[in-house]
Structure formats: structure tokens, C-alpha cells
């Protein structure tokens, strides 16, 4: 499979996901927290690791769609550059959050013999009154064949 044209990758900048609302259910937070090896958190607090999947699903997309937007050969061709999370207030279960998401950077890179497309996604969470809750920035590398 040939590499996608670089113009198609660069054209992803500005792509917005539909957006929407996401509520972390109690059962979901309980299982998520258990996966981390921690005890359940008090006072309806959600484990901060929810800031990975909650924005993606709440923005109306999915990990699979994000792979597809960058024309990944397969899941195994994806590498993580970084996850950056900012918390303006703690996350809580059973609390609806308004979520938006977009692609802020997309370009082809070469490092030595390695060629990859670097795509950055940004997701923002707000309360219904507009108060900021958190921001998640996901930067992935879509590994390509050297040409």
C-alpha cells in the first residue's frame, strides 16, 4: 500500500469532530479505576485516566476513526509521541461534559530513515455553563514506508 499523498495529510488540519456530551457512568469509573490498580475514588470523583477515552468518544469520534483519518495501514503502524493533559478541575462521574475536538497539526516528517505523518488532536471539555474542565492533546505518529 502506497503512502497517502502528503497534501491529504496536511489537509486534515482544522478537521473538527461533531462534538457532543459525555457522562462517565459510575460502573465505567469503577472498572476504569480498578484497571489502574487503585481503590475506588471518594466523593464521585472520576479517575483522571478517563481523560483519554472520554474526550474521544464525547467528541463523536473513536480511536478507530482517528486511525482511519490518518490513513493508518493498521493499528500496529501507529506510534504515540505524547499525551498532554490539563485539568482545570477534577473529573466527576455522572456529570455531563460538553466536548469538542479537532485536528490542530498534521504533516509528514522524516527522522533518519524513518518516515511518518505526525497528527495532533485536541479535545476540550467544558461544563454546561461553559466553565473549562480539562484539555487532552493526543499526538500520534502514523508510520510510513520510506520513499
Amino acid at each position: 500500500m502506497a503512502n497517502p499523498p502528503v497534501e491529504e495529510i496536511r489537509a486534515l488540519v482544522g478537521h473538527s469532530f461533531p462534538g457532543g456530551t459525555y457522562t462517565i457512568a459510575h460502573w465505567e469509573n469503577f472498572l476504569l479505576t480498578d484497571c489502574t490498580g487503585a481503590e475506588p475514588l471518594p466523593d464521585d470523583l472520576a479517575h483522571p485516566v478517563a481523560l483519554f477515552h472520554m474526550p474521544i468518544l464525547g467528541a463523536g469520534t473513536s480511536i478507530g476513526e482517528m486511525f482511519g483519518l490518518g490513513q493508518a495501514d493498521s493499528g500496529v503502524s501507529i506510534g504515540i509521541e505524547s499525551y498532554e493533559w490539563k485539568f482545570f478541575q477534577p473529573l466527576r462521574e455522572e456529570q455531563p461534559y460538553d466536548i469538542t475536538g479537532k485536528i490542530t497539526e498534521a504533516d509528514r516528517k522524516e527522522e533518519g530513515k524513518r518516515t511518518f505523518d505526525r497528527i495532533r488532536f485536541q479535545f476540550d471539555l467544558h461544563e454546561a455553563d461553559g466553565s473549562p474542565v480539562a484539555r487532552s492533546t493526543v499526538t500520534w505518529h502514523y508510520n510510513r514506508r520510506s520513499e
Binding site: 484497571c35 487503585a38 483522571p48 477515552h53
Partner: protein, 138 residues
């Protein structure tokens, strides 16, 4: 307790990374990447026969370390990179060290280097964190 640059955060121990937890996590995340739940796929790409932990799960070990130290709700920022995969059955210890103590928006915060330590041999996850020290026990 006075926190100063160089302070070593009390470590947090994950004695054995569980493949069952990876499966639960994959379902919660709706993560279709099979290396987290199908060891045959891991073998096909030449990384052995153990499933690969989700990146956010490795990050969560460091969150647990920070919670135990500065309290739940204390985390302001995290940035994480993933130089090496974490595999099922790995013994992982989350560690960290304070690099600066400063005031931000009227609150005392600590900037920290944080990482996962695998058997004292390598660091599969490396990052930084900023936490509020206001809830820290005296």
C-alpha cells in the same frame, strides 16, 4: 512537610501488569488495537508473546503515585511519552522527582519528572507533571 527541588516522590508499585485488566480497558476505551488483547498479533509483529499494556494504563500508575502523595484532585498537568512498550506480567514501579516548587495562580505547585521503572533496567514511560501542594499533609 517541606517539599524542595530534588524531593523523591514515594513510589507506587504495580507488581504484575494484568492481561485481564488490558481486556477490560480495551472494552472501556473501545480500542480496536489487538496488541492489547491478542498475544498472537504481538507475536506477528515480533514483540514476543505477551500483550502490550495500553499507554493510558501506564500513565495511570503515575497518576496513582501522585494521588497517594499530593491527594486526589491535585494534578494540574501531565505530559507523557512512551519510549518502550509495557508488557503483561511486567513488574512496574512509578517514580518521580520534584524539579521546581513555585506559585501558580496563588497556589503552591510542584513541577516533577515522572517515569515508570521496569526492574530497575529501563524506563518505558517518561514524562512531567505539575501538582498542587496545597492539600499535602503537613
Amino acid at each position: 512537610m517541606t517539599i524542595e527541588t530534588g524531593f523523591e516522590i514515594p513510589p507506587w508499585d504495580m507488581p504484575s501488569v494484568s492481561p485481564d485488566r488490558m481486556k477490560t480497558m480495551a472494552a472501556i476505551l473501545r480500542d480496536p488495537y489487538p496488541v492489547h488483547w491478542d498475544p498472537r498479533v504481538v507475536e506477528q509483529i515480533g514483540l514476543g508473546k505477551r500483550t502490550i499494556n495500553q499507554g493510558p494504563l501506564g500513565l495511570s500508575y503515575m497518576i496513582n503515585m501522585l494521588h497517594d502523595w499530593t491527594g486526589i484532585g491535585s494534578i494540574k498537568r501531565l505530559r507523557m511519552t512512551f519510549p518502550l512498550p509495557v508488557f503483561q506480567d511486567d513488574h512496574i514501579i512509578a517514580r518521580g522527582q520534584v524539579t521546581e516548587v513555585r506559585v501558580e495562580d496563588g497556589k503552591t505547585v510542584a513541577d516533577c519528572d515522572i517515569w515508570l521503572d521496569r526492574d530497575g533496567e529501563d524506563k518505558p514511560l517518561v514524562g512531567t507533571a505539575t501538582v498542587s501542594l496545597d492539600e499535602l499533609s503537613a
